[in-house]
């Protein structure tokens, strides 16, 4: 399977989640789900990361932080939106401080459904993201230009 070839590191950021998806992402790293079996490590440093896992919908203060983290990550990189809030804003999309899903700011590669997303669903999503990461890596190797940094628009 594709996820044995590389050891991708992931960076988790809570955009404005209710904690439900956050603790499920953390649960993936603890003994019962243990994604370190595949060499997946949770890193705190965006420059070390290959996968950006975002939980929760985007609001005004976190928009800048997400852009900052994303642009610091080296290519190739993938974005996984975990939970329905990160995908569309979920139940909070009508609130005044929520801009919407992560895709209002960044190009998202994989959406993981669920409220809160189960660890199994998150693992499925990350495995799917690894396939996309490999195609992106192959394209870069073949000489494709690096995508430009995402600019925030007010």
């Amino acid at each position: 399977m594709s996820f044995f070839k590389k050891s991708p590191w992931l960076l988790h950021y809570d955009a404005s989640s209710c904690n439900g998806c956050d603790i499920e992402v953390l649960a993936c790293l603890t003994p019962v789900y243990d994604v370190e079996r595949f060499g997946i490590v949770n890193t705190g440093n965006p420059k070390h990361a290959d996968i950006l896992v975002i939980t929760g919908s985007v609001n005004e203060p976190t928009r800048e932080v997400i852009l900052n983290l994303y642009n610091q990550m080296p290519h190739p990189k993938v974005v996984v939106a975990v939970g329905v809030c990160a995908a569309t804003g979920g139940i909070f999309r009508d609130t005044y401080n929520v801009l919407g899903g992560v895709d209002t700011v960044l190009p998202v590669d994989v959406y993981v459904p669920g409220c809160a997303a189960r660890p199994e669903a998150i693992i499925d999503g990350v495995v799917k993201a690894l396939g996309i990461l490999e195609t992106k890596a192959a394209a870069l190797k073949a000489g494709a230009a690096e995508p430009a940094a995402v600019e925030g628009s007010k």
């Binding site: 399977m1 003994p31 019962v32 789900y33 243990d34 079996r37 329905v84 995908a87 569309t88 979920g90 139940i91 999309r93 899903g101 895709d103 590669d109 994989v110 959406y111 993981v112 459904p113 669920g114 409220c115 997303a117 189960r118 660890p119 199994e120 669903a121 693992i123 499925d124 999503g125 495995v127 799917k128 996309i132």
Partner: protein
Amino acid sequence: MGLGKLSFTALKGVFSKPATRRYPFEARPPIAKSRGRIHFDDGKCTYCSLCELKCPPDAIKVDRQGRVFAIDHLLCILCGACVEACQKGSLSMDAKHGEPWTEKQKLSWHTEAPPKPSGDAAPKA
């Protein structure tokens, strides 16, 4: 920690089963009550739109005239309010969690209206 306790813990670690669920290779048996994903059975639906009324994030849209049921799984919070509201048993909760998506998409179903009974029972538009 004394040496006795230490060796006991070490031996227990060697002989006990690992706590890890080997997820993508072996899925654990689903728990019956688990709220994984909304399942729609289009054969039973009468497009009454009760589920749309009860849905907290407005993930379900029902077109009563056009007989279309649409659900956005990326909006659904899996509360199960629609399943409780459904009178015809057309909505149910799957214990298996939903698959990841690479693009946003609303799933919709449409069935033709059943043939109207002959005679004067035809409903007014």
